[in-house]
Every structure is written in C-alpha cells, then in structure tokens.
Subunit: 388 residues, 2 copies
C-alpha cells in the first residue's frame, strides 16, 4: 500500500525551479543534467531524506518539460514518493545487491538503466558529487555526445529564493531565535557545556508550537578557553565566573537553514571583549547598509571591514556566505574577492565571527534577505553581548 | 597566548595508530600518506573539529616515526593544537585568502608548502576525500615518484579498536541507551514528532552525569505512515492511537558513535508487527551466536537471514556495518557478500531494520563488540517492542 504524499512546496514551485535550471543548462549548451548533490535533489524535487551516502541520481532533461527521474536505493523509494510530487514510475529503486557490495554499487545499476538513452546529448554531471571511482564509471560507460561538469548550475539558480522559499527561511529563522532563547536560559555558572548544548539542540529540533523543525544543524558551542577556535565541538567542562561562550546554531525547516551566532559572558566582560563587541555592532550596521540589490558581495564585506578597522580591529575571514538548503551554499561568499551581484531573494548568513588569537574570539551573525530595496534580517534576537 | 591541550587519548595511543597505518602503507609499497578524510584525521590525531568542509591534509611519512604534519585553515589551527598532541610546528594554517576565493583554495597553499619534499617517494592520497578539481590539482602538481589512491588504508586499521577506543565506544553506547530512555519517556499519544525528536536529541547531547556527549548524530524518527522508509526526517505530525514509531539514534563520545534502534507502538500492536518482532528477536540471537573471531561478516548475515526466513520474513538489506569514528565505517558490512574475517576489537552496528513494504517497516539494532571468545552487545536497552 502506498502512503499519502506530504510535500513542503507545490508542484508548480518545483516546476518553476526545474524550468530555471533547464534554462541555465541550455544556456551552457546542455541537453540534460545528471544531478547527485543532495542539495540539488532537495531543490528540484523536495526529497530531504538522509540517504545520500549511497548513490542517488536525478535526471533532468532540458529538451522536454517532463518531470525528472530519480534513481535511488529501493528502500528509500517510499520516502521519495512520500516527500515529492514525482509520479510512481519516476522514482526508480535499485536492489540491495548494489549496496555494501565490493564489486558493484548503485551507479552500475543506474548506468545500465540509462543505457544509451542519452546518446546524442550533451550532458552535465555534477562531478564533485561523485567519488573518484564513481566519476570514472560515468565517464567510461555513459554513451553521450559529451559529458561535462555541471558544477554550480543548480547552485546558481537556488541562490535566489522564491517567495515560498523565503517563507520557509523565515520559519527557520524564527526557530533559530527560539534556540538562541534556550541558550540564553541555559548558560549560567555551574552548567556543563554539554547540558547547554542539549537544551539548544532540543529547542532547535522542537521549533515553535505552530512550526516544528524537520531537521537539525548540530550547534557549535565554543567556550573559554576555546573562544579562539570556531569549529570544535562542545565539551563536558563546567562554566564558571569569567567563562565566555560563543554560540553558533541554526533553525531548519524542510531542510532550509537559518544561522545565528551570539556571544555570552558569565560575569562582567573584559574590556577587550566589550570593545570588540561595540566595533562589531557598528561594522554590522555598515554591512547591512551596503547590502542591497545591485551592490556586490565584496561591497558588503568591504563596508564591514572598513568600519571594523576604524574601530581598531580586523576580520580576516569572509563575512558570510549564501545560506538556504544546507548550511553553506557555494554560489557566493560575502568576501572581498567575490563580485557576485546581490539580487532580491538572495539569503545570506552574515557571519561576523572573529577569531582574533588562539585564546580569544567573538561571534555575531544574522541570516539576512536581500529585498527589492535593501535588506532584512530574518533572525530577530537582540544584537547584544549577553551578560549572565 | 596558547590554550592548554585537552586530548581524548594518550600520545602513545595515537603513535600506535600511526605505526599501524605506516605498516599497512609500507606493505603496499608506499613511503608516505596524504590523508584528507575527516575520519582519518580524527583517528590519527584526535582532531574532531567540524572544519573538513575546507581543505585539510595530514602528511604521515612511513620512512620515519616522526609525528605527522597537519595543514588546515589558519582559524582552525588553535582547535587542532588544543585537541591533539601535535607540536606547534606540526599544525600549519593557511590564510583566509585561500577560503571562499574563486581562483585558489587551501590545496594550492598546501601544494606550494610541500613543494618537492616528497619527490623521490611513492605517495598514497585519499582520492575520494577530494573533489574532482582538487584531485586534479594534486595529480598535476605534486612532484612524486608515483601518486596512488590510499583508499581504505586507514579504514582497514581503524576497524579494529584498541582497549582505549572500546572504552570510549562503551561510553557512547551508554549515551545511546540514555537517549533511548528519553524516547521511551517521550513517545505518547498527542505528542508532536518533533517534540519527541527534541527530547531524544537533548538526551543524546547531554549524555550521562559523569560522561557527557561531545557531538551528536542527528536521530532519525520515522512514524506511521512512514515506517516503511528508513532515512527521512521527523515531522510535526501528532502521534495518536495506532501510531508506530521507529527510532534510530546514536550516542557520540570523542567522535566515536554507537547506534541503537527500537520500535515503539502506541496502543495494541497489530499482529503483523508482533510476528515480525518475534522473528527478529530469534534471528538476532542467531546473528549474535554466529559473531565470533574467525567467523566472517557473511556468516553473521547468513545466520540472521536464515533464521528470519524460517519465521516467514525476509531482510534484503545488509545486517549492519562497522561503526566507530562517524557512523558507517566503510571497511566491512555484515552482508552476504562480505567475507571480512571478524577479529577481537571490531565494533559493528548490528542493524536489523527491515523495511518490508511502502507502509510497513520495523527497526531493531545493537552496537556490538567482537571479543576474544565471542561477542558483546555494548548497548543495553531491553530488546523488546515498546508498547505505549
């Protein structure tokens, strides 16, 4: 018996996305795309299952407006039928003999199924979604006119969000705010760091009464003496007077994430931290003032860095990146090197974390939306240094 | 100012691991390894930071017993110095100009740093840890006698855990049991699925009073009508009488994970579910009886499948996989195709989830340790169908 569908967006929304990707691909002279990045599959079909550790391929032809075909492990097929608008015959499962087998995997099955159906076409394949061995299979055994790297084609479309996607990003941002509220309640002298992380994770999963989360981006919580390093995991250490806590968390809704970072201090903060926080606030305002349609990514980064330097600090790392499906969208960075033009509907994690020395760093971020006339912060947590 | 070290294992433990990897590499005629899989870096150094989305390379030479050198993003260097025994000069950071830049990345920096230092050597590189573009850089620009794929070398060593690693796996298993206890308390009629997921995630992060977690494997919770699909995320649906809940969760300690799966039913379970559960229990006993040093992975899978078939059911998917650092270790599967010999110290997620039709599946698993004389389940949750 099949189970009812439960989709996050309308069929028309996915058709619009598919058509825009087709247009972009055709502009590059491509007749079809073979997509394996989980984010590409989420974007074009709505399948958000965590099954991308085995081969999955979405075939989107550009010479028709037919729905794409999704090949995946047979056991994941019911989930795809449930979460997407795809018809029964467009989700094809490969049997378990192709999983955990030393001599064959799903790519062998999919290659055999496609056969010579794409023979006269110029086909784009997401090379970087594939292992070295898988890519070699496709290059050696797929009969096509030409097989080229499709890197960036879907990314280049999904960087601009539709109204429906922005609505979901707003929900993700509200969940992020709720999770930061949980951090605010949890951080106190005597708390174990893992207990704080537990309450933050729970709030991010729970979401809001009318809008639960549907996935979790694992929070990063780095506290004294680890405020100078951004990516390490929480510990069991107990907080005490003088502990600084850097919190990076996300809210996730239908696999769209909004990021949020704030800095906490237990007891009176040292002068250096207060001065850095004040400088970051001014520089954040400068970045937000620079973010509008027609400006470029490097304008935003430049405005932030100049204002921060006027206050005696420097930030070497980029000021953020596109965010949406999964955390970091590769299409654009808010960096001095990136001249991508901002467009309404783009969303960024304006990430102003600043790791100044081995033992000192500070974090602050917002998830922002480029609007027709400027910018809007989707996250709403007060932009302050939280003193506990 | 540098921050004090906080390492999960002794320096001697890491030296032992490095020596075993060297031996294996030398057996394959290799003089040095360039490792980029996050799991390889965790295994050989203890660096568990979540920074592997930008280039990281560990150079382990086989012709000396010197500690390896780790190249990474400069901002992640303090975290690596904190979490590993590596000396200051053996962790090398590349500047931010190599991050989010359209024309260069960390690989360019690392290649330049290594220069011709490996010129006369036969070097193994983990091809599948690299993107297509990164692999081409290394193949084109690293001057060596020969550059070959190092796939599986570290995996082949880390599949057998030391006593110190088993001790950490036991802690991870105890955390998994605690999280399943939270699921047991949370699942009831009227609960939102995301609220159940929140309590499970919180328990997995919190860990135990004397042993907190240090990371989270995001739980998978699939409930009616989604019991027939294994990998999709939780929803906001409310549970009601007749809802079945399949819970897959993990405990994680110093990046070692233990997996655990149990099936819940709200109200009296249907006959089909009861019969499948009874059959799975008998078949699990058969699998455990077959798991001992000298037996092979396919013996365990065969024992399970035969017993299950005698009770009128079939499981098509593998019966589990090696588990340890990160969830699925690729070195061995408990499948009918895998003839890997079991050795004391190997740990597996004996994963007996069975997705029978689109609308019906069942889960049961244990994290197990191969002991000198047989097998031990590290997870201790009662092996029952939980009826609420």
């Amino acid at each position: 018996m099949s189970i009812p569908k439960q989709t996050a967006f309308t069929a028309a929304e996915f058709r619009r996305r598919q058509d825009e990707v087709r247009r972009r691909a055709q502009g590059l002279g491509l007749d079809a795309l073979l997509l394996s990045l989980p984010s590409s599959i989420v974007y074009l079909t709505g399948y958000t299952g965590m099954s991308g550790y085995v081969p999955q391929v979405l075939l989107l032809r550009c010479d028709t407006t037919d729905d794409p075909t999704l090949w995946m492990r047979l056991q994941d097929r019911p989930g795809a039928l449930h979460l997407t608008h795809l018809a029964d015959d467009l989700v094809v499962g490969y049997p378990e003999a192709f999983v955990g087998h030393p001599d064959q995997d799903g790519h062998d099955y999919i290659l055999r199924q496609i056969g010579s159906a794409l023979l006269p076409l110029r086909v784009g394949l997401e090379f970087d979604a594939l292992s070295h061995a898988a890519l070699r299979k496709w290059q050696a055994r797929l009969p096509v006119r030409e097989l080229v790297d499709a890197a960036g084609i879907v990314d280049g479309v999904r960087i601009v969000k539709s109204n429906a996607e922005v609505a979901v990003m707003r929900e993700a941002a509200a969940i992020a705010d709720a999770a930061m509220g949980a951090a605010t309640a949890a951080i106190h002298e005597g708390a174990r760091e893992c207990d704080v992380a537990a309450l933050v994770a729970a709030a991010a999963v729970r979401g809001l009464p009318d809008c639960g989360s549907t996935h979790l981006e694992v929070p990063l919580i780095c506290s004294t003496p680890r405020t100078g390093t951004p990516h390490i995991c929480w510990t069991e250490d107990r907080y005490r007077q003088g502990t600084q806590v850097n919190v990076e968390l996300g809210g996730t809704r239908h696999r769209y994430s909004a990021g949020l970072m704030r800095t906490f201090h237990i007891g009176p903060p040292p002068d250096r931290l207060k001065r850095l926080h004040e400088a970051e606030l001014v520089a954040t305002d400068a970045a937000l003032a620079a973010a509008r349609p027609g400006a470029r990514c490097n304008d935003v980064a430049g405005a932030f860095c100049r204002a921060l330097e006027q206050h005696g600090f420097r930030k070497d790392s980029r000021c953020g990146y596109a965010i949406g499906i999964d955390w970091i969208e590769p299409a654009a960075s808010l960096s001095l090197h990136d001249r991508t033009e901002l467009q309404p509907g783009m969303t960024f994690h304006l990430m102003l974390g600043n790791w100044i020395s081995e033992d000192f760093g500070y974090v602050l971020s917002e998830t922002i939306l480029i609007t027709p006339h400027g910018v809007e912060a989707l996250t709403r947590t007060p932009r302050k240094l939280f003193i506990h």
